[in-house]
Symmetry: C2
């Protein structure tokens, strides 16, 4: 390495762990947008939409990261070393994750690895799926008349760790980040943990996108309705009285047309 | 009203219930930013920062809404009728709320009132304080090694409704949206509800702003430490093992200077 190489060389790079939000590209934060625009490397989760990726420069290197739900840690480790390697070469690396990096995004583990490697990083929060779906479908997660708390629960909590009743409270709103195939067993587990069969519940699929759909039912019949409706992933399950308080906007009246004025 | 008045008149206005995020202005979403730029009326919570308000046109009418924590519904009702009235006059009204409109923002009630008045509305989600503080302080709310759920709890849950153990689960991360004066009684209530005295806990004040501060302790000593540190509101309380897994970024090394190359 000649002194001149050293003089020209950029300082060590940096990694941004960035929340890509729930789906719609304009639900990224202004900060996430700015950081993406300066990225030279973008390592993105499969859940991140093409519209979001378009916010990064076309000249950036794009690295697809395998499906989060696969739980294949081997693959994740390989991706992560690619991120570390690019950062050590001086790149501005954006690690783009669906929703928020610190809500079921494994951002904690990745931040630890970056710290261990001595790589500067920053975490840019994102609109988590629960918040995006709530805003989009008109379900106030903590409507004051019926919920003083909302619990966000990971897909596999009750399967990996057993008793669901230690992981979710007896009252308040619950949001499960999960596979559609888990709706039935989750509703059953909630009833076993003490929730009423008649508890209102809904599944929202593809929240905030043009293909968003919602199916509303109870813990007793939701799974069947979801199957009948043929919903597509990704999806979340909302449970609690707030589902019944869903508010839908009045439609926007067409502007007065000259003809209407006769 | 002459036909010509009708021809020129805009159609009925619209209200956007917009999340202003946790503090930093660049943590608004791109959609919130766009909507704000088109606002002719901005009705904002006291918690919303001046930097955020600057994103709206200076020509807009600005209406300050009283402190959320005061619980003065009379005042809220008056503000809300001002919002409805402006919308009926054809204004593009942005109702700007700290954090997310549907997480302790009373957005549910306001949406119901808009629907009842036949006013079209849209909800634009925001980064809730828990997510902003987590990203900013390096605390992964659902670090896979120690939490499969995170519960967001309103300030007054245990005071207004009694038994905290029905409102928060036995395990997992908890985030209380609350007044600083409530730290001591909340920690005490959590121990009464079964959490260990040694449970890690932290208060983050003014998260994501230049004045952000964090105080870390346990349910046994946090309240005392927070008082000693003289933290300022707004603040949130985080409880759970994830607090101990907090990750801080390596500092950014200065670029090689010519002198260093000797």
């Amino acid at each position: 390495v000649s002194p001149m190489d050293g003089f020209r060389r950029k300082s060590r790079g940096k990694v941004w762990l960035v929340g890509a939000g729930p789906g719609a590209a304009d639900l990224l934060t202004l900060r996430a947008h700015r950081v993406l625009q300066g990225a030279t490397v973008v390592a993105y989760d499969e859940l991140v939409s093409a519209d979001v990726l378009k916010l990064a420069p076309a000249s950036a290197e794009f690295i697809a990261v395998g499906r989060r739900a696969s739980g294949c840690r081997h693959h994740e480790a390989r991706i992560h070393s690619a991120v570390v390697e690019r950062a050590l070469l001086g790149h501005e690396v954006v690690r783009l994750k669906g929703g928020d990096p610190f809500v079921f995004g494994r951002g904690g583990e990745e931040a630890e690895e970056l710290a261990a490697a001595g790589i500067p990083f920053e975490v840019v929060p994102g609109i988590s799926a629960a918040l995006g779906a709530a805003a989009s479908t008109g379900i106030a997660l903590t409507h004051r008349d019926c919920a003083s708390a909302v619990t966000l629960v990971t897909a596999h909590a009750h399967l990996e760790h057993g008793d669901l009743s230690r992981r979710v409270p007896a009252e308040g709103t619950l949001v499960f980040y999960m596979g559609l195939t888990r709706v039935s067993e989750t509703c059953t587990a909630l009833v076993a943990a003490g929730r009423e069969l008649a508890t209102p519940a809904a599944v929202v699929s593809k929240a905030t996108t043009a293909e968003e759909r919602i199916v509303v039912g109870t813990l007793a019949d939701l799974a069947q309705k979801v199957t009948a409706a043929g919903l597509q992933p990704p999806a979340i399950l909302l449970v609690g009285d707030v589902v019944l308080r869903r508010v839908v906007s009045a439609s926007i009246p067409p502007a007065l047309s000259p003809r209407a004025l006769g």
